[in-house]
């Protein structure tokens, strides 16, 4: 059941995930057309969808802002616009921070930090700059296909430093939410991106996509025009139970990005080895941090126990131990029943 709709207001709208937007060329060709925007907003209103609007770097025409305000939404904007939209989610890149971008006014921020492999060694520095000013930081590693063993080691090292920084600056129960480090401590089940299951995206061409990354990677990968009964062929392959590696995994904070799955392994239900290893490095850092926090007298929030494991890639486990047929049926039929019940309620 869809809950959210991402609307990409222009081709050069800020990227908030592991894809690159189209560089700004000219405004005429860049923006979504007003009829397309109205169609998308109407679709959201009719289907009880909350909207995430992805903004470009420039000011929108007045009539666009008026349409945007018709629907419940969150603005996702580049750092350059944070003074204009202070209640928005900011997208930041290390080069912005490290080049002395003005973030003095940032307070209780909710930011997305997009880090390329090149800037991985500055991750700890970036987090230490942002953490005092933010309630939540979502980290996006933008080019994981380039990661080799030494980069994975670097990521583990950065997480260890960030963990120590968080522990050292601990004040009572208050810690900044870091998707890659703290989320796992409070999760008891998968909390994946769920593109195509809980949300869809509308691109500047007015068409629907599983997520913005599919649009930017290949415009032809569209789900079609906006319509009430969106057809997603082989939709079951987006679900956790149809992902042989992920359904046995407990890196609950993993995005399980179906775009990166498709790009790197050819299959939307199969994660790359880079994805699995990065998520397990995060899991291990979370596990060690959770132990430290439990030992801290000042931190009294309930934390999930994260078991110690001896692997970084559940592929090896999935390959050897296929899920039992009976277990699959149990998951399958239980979920089918739940979906029917949800459908009944909405009718």
């Amino acid at each position: 059941m869809f809950k959210y709709l991402a609307i990409i207001l222009s081709k050069s709208s800020v990227s908030y995930c592991a894809y690159e937007n189209t560089p700004f060329d000219n405004k005429t060709d860049d923006l979504i057309s007003l009829p397309h925007l109205k169609n998308a907003v109407t679709f959201a209103l009719k289907n009880n969808l909350k909207v995430n609007f992805l903004f470009p770097e420039y000011d929108l025409p007045l009539e666009y802002n008026a349409l945007i305000d018709e629907v419940e939404h969150i603005k996702i904007v580049p750092l350059q616009l944070y003074a204009t939209y202070q209640d928005s989610i900011l997208v930041i890149q290390p080069k912005n921070l490290l080049q002395n971008a003005d973030i003095k006014g940032l307070k209780d921020g909710n930011v997305i930090l997009r880090v390329s492999k090149q800037h991985l060694p500055q991750l700890h520095t970036c987090i230490s700059m942002l953490a005092p000013k933010c309630t939540r930081i979502n980290l996006v590693l933008t080019d994981i296909e380039k990661y080799r063993d030494e980069d994975l080691d670097e990521y583990a090292s950065q997480l260890a430093q960030i963990s120590l920084y968080i522990q050292d600056s601990l004040s009572g129960n208050k810690i900044p939410e870091l998707n890659f480090l703290t989320d796992r401590m409070f999760l008891a089940q998968m909390n994946n991106c769920n593109a195509g299951l809980s949300h869809l995206s509308v691109a500047p061409n007015g068409k629907l996509y599983l997520c913005p990354a599919f649009y930017y990677h290949n415009e032809d990968s569209t789900l079609g025009e906006i319509k009430n009964d969106v057809e997603i062929k082989n939709k079951q392959l987006l679900e956790l139970k149809y992902a042989p590696i992920c359904r046995i995994c407990d890196t609950y904070q993993c995005r399980r990005c179906v775009f990166l799955n498709k790009k790197l392994t050819s299959e939307i239900n199969t994660p790359s080895y880079q994805q699995c290893r990065l998520s397990h490095i995060e899991r291990e850092a979370s596990r060690l941090m959770s132990i430290a926090l439990k030992e801290s007298k000042n931190f009294t929030r309930q934390i999930e126990t994260i078991p110690e494991i001896d692997y970084l890639d559940p592929f090896e486990i999935a390959q050897k131990h296929k899920i039992e047929i009976s277990a699959f049926k149990l998951i399958n039929y239980a979920n089918t029943k739940n979906e029917n019940e949800i459908g009944g309620e909405s009718n």
Partner: protein, 391 residues
């Protein structure tokens, strides 16, 4: 009274079955025939493997960690028609043997060269020279489809002429050299009336083991399963009446088929094997090469220069039955033995995925199961012994 071990109708003869690494060399995409049911939709006389490419592929296999622990290797030569390139194959095999010996590779003591051929060139001097040289390490399967009528319905030259006469003349020599070899028969829609006579004909020719299957493509119409079942029941009667079960096998009849699933295994070995095309690109099997695909792009998993892309291989190695099957297939009471081809699944899927099982053969499989039940129940009664006690 016949003992259970005298019933050989469902025997299999694969060399080191389940213990080998199969590597397929697609030495040519050309063939003398244009068989009507052939899945190779893009055959051509342009794409042929160069020896230099083959050498580099052999070097990769013998030097790479992925293969260093393989103790049994099958080098499978296919096409198109592999015997068109017998001189190249001879050089490849020589190079493999020398390199495996010099590198002290464990597979030097346990390897096979394997062929599936249309048999047209089988008795030629070049092919016979190769066979003589490698006889103790060879498996050759000539495809002959049954009676002349059945064979010539499908296995034709580009001008439409049937190839039966040119194949059958080579069968005695083949059986003499490989007395335990099997043939592989493919059944498409037009072939249904000729199944029984074809199996019996092949046995009469001396081909004792007949591996036979229906095509996976979307060619079947409602009612086909009735004729299919009638043919198999009639064949079952003949097998029992003439006691052919004591000497011959036909893969349509098996104790293993027609039961609910107990295990969540993939049917197909794509990804556990590997195919190499004329450019040295690697594929999960030859069904993922572009000249095998009607609707989808080729699906590569690497090449000899860069090695295997482990990310591209991951989906194949985690494929299981439940993830790619519809609920009615998972729950099917006649499920076991219902085959699928991963390449055909990929080609026919609604999206470009290997996780959608094509089920065009559903009605035919159920018909086969009924005929198979008929056979085993009738034979058990005749022999006064329950032959399927394991199920």
């Amino acid at each position: 009274m016949a003992e259970n071990n005298q019933v050989k109708i469902d025997r299999t003869n694969s060399w080191e079955e389940g213990k080998t690494k199969n590597v397929t060399f697609i030495v040519t995409e050309d063939c003398q025939l244009q068989c009507k049911y052939c899945y190779l939709v893009g055959k051509n006389n342009l794409n042929k493997m160069d020896f230099l490419i083959a050498k580099q592929a052999i070097d990769y296999l013998l030097e790479n960690d992925d293969f260093s622990k393989e103790t049994s290797v099958v080098l499978d030569f296919i096409g198109g028609e592999p015997l068109l390139e017998i001189e190249l194959i001879d050089k490849i095999c020589d190079y493999f043997k020398i390199q495996a010996y010099e590198k002290n590779h464990p597979c030097f003591n346990s390897y096979r060269f394997s062929f599936t051929t249309n048999g047209l060139l089988y008795s030629s001097d070049k092919v016979q020279h190769y066979i003589e040289k490698n006889l103790t390490h060879l498996s050759i399967q000539i495809t002959i489809d049954g009676t002349k009528t059945k064979h010539n319905l499908q296995r034709v030259y580009p001008n439409g002429r049937g190839s039966y006469d040119n194949v059958v003349k080579n069968i005695p020599l083949w059986i003499k050299q490989f007395p335990h070899s099997a043939t592989k028969v493919t059944i498409s829609r037009d072939d249904l009336p000729y199944i029984k006579e074809s199996v019996l004909h092949l046995w009469k020719l001396g081909v004792k083991d007949v591996n036979i299957n229906v095509v996976f493509e979307d060619v079947w119409k409602p009612g086909d399963e009735v004729m299919f079942e009638d043919q198999l029941v009639s064949l079952a009667d003949e097998i029992i009446a003439q006691k052919y079960y004591e000497d011959f096998s036909c893969s349509f009849f098996s104790k293993m088929i027609g039961h609910p699933y107990k295990e969540n295994m993939n049917w197909c070995g794509a990804g556990k094997m590997m195919a190499i095309d004329f450019q040295g690109n690697f594929y999960p099997c030859n069904r993922f090469v572009d000249f095998s695909l009607q609707h989808r792009k080729e699906l590569m998993i690497g090449n000899f220069a860069d090695g295997i892309d482990k990310n591209r291989l991951r989906p194949f190695l985690t494929l299981d039955m439940v993830t790619q099957s519809k609920p009615e297939c998972i729950d099917c009471q006649a499920a076991t033995g219902c085959a699928w081809c991963q390449g055909a699944n990929y080609d026919f899927a609604d999206t470009d995925t290997i996780f959608q099982r094509a089920t065009y053969i559903c009605a035919l499989h159920k018909a086969r199961v009924r005929a198979n039940n008929y056979f085993w129940n009738k034979l058990s009664k005749k022999l006064n012994k329950e032959l399927r006690t394991d199920f």
